[in-house]
């Protein structure tokens, strides 16, 4: 794991493998990284917004749990973004298949399940609160 982290910060090492690709591919890879980073930032922003704008929920500390979950998910998305960027860059330089990833599917499931849980919480409040 530390080896992978060291690699992200060592552009010379990444630039030494394979051959320099058409710059358009590198730029597209960088834009994909930035799009993922913004996804992570949106989750972080969502967590911060949940902590201050959500009304009290029926379960104690549910608001804080939601906020912390979104913040940590955002951090995970950002870390995964740079890892995927480095692995894709390496694959492009070596002319290999691009790395496959289950991460988008897992993230979609997590967001979907989280949204469903919130729907249940809102319905419980509507039924029980009034």
């Amino acid at each position: 794991m530390w080896e992978a982290i060291r690699r992200w910060f060592d552009p010379a090492e990444l630039g030494s493998v394979g051959e320099t690709p058409d710059y358009r591919f590198s730029l597209a890879n960088e834009r994909t990284f930035l799009a993922w980073l913004r996804t992570g930032l949106a989750l972080v922003g969502g967590g911060l917004a949940a902590a201050q704008f959500l009304p009290p929920l029926p379960m104690s500390h549910l608001r804080e749990v939601i906020a912390v979950a979104l913040l940590l998910l955002g951090a995970a998305v950002a870390i995964r973004a740079v890892d995927h960027w480095a692995r894709t860059e390496r694959a492009i330089r070596l002319g290999q298949e691009l790395p496959a990833s289950r991460f988008p599917a897992i993230l979609a499931l997590a967001v979907g399940v989280g949204a469903l849980l919130l729907v249940v919480a809102v319905l419980l409040r509507a039924i029980g609160g009034r």
Binding site: F9, R24, S26, L27, N29, F33, V44, G74, A75, E89
Partner: protein
């Protein structure tokens, strides 16, 4: 129809992506500072750290989002903005947990 390498467009699109990222960082910073502003010293300290991280991300994104020179890709900027984002998220966790003490 000509299919050149659109030498101007690709770097421009990437610069705009960096600027969008900086905008998103700024929105997150504003939300975090608002959450931190409750008048206590801990909140002020965390807010200060958040503004420092924002400044670092501003410099990083600005250096890649401006200019008209040849395309620059990769480098240490990408892992560094990731670190900045992760630090923002962890400071956010501190802010949320602070409310429970």
């Amino acid at each position: 129809m000509s299919t050149g390498r659109d030498p101007g467009l690709q770097p421009e699109r990437t610069r705009l992506a960096w600027r969008r990222t900086l905008l998103t960082v700024t929105v997150v910073t504003v939300l975090a500072v608002r959450l931190a502003s409750t008048g206590d010293p801990t909140g002020a300290l965390i807010a200060g750290c958040i503004v420092l991280v924002w400044g670092a991300l501003l410099v990083l994104c600005w250096s890649r989002g401006t200019g008209t020179g040849p395309a620059r890709t990769g480098g240490r900027t990408l892992p560094l903005v990731t670190v900045g984002t992760v630090v923002l998220a962890l400071l956010g966790v501190l802010l949320v947990l602070r409310g429970l003490w």
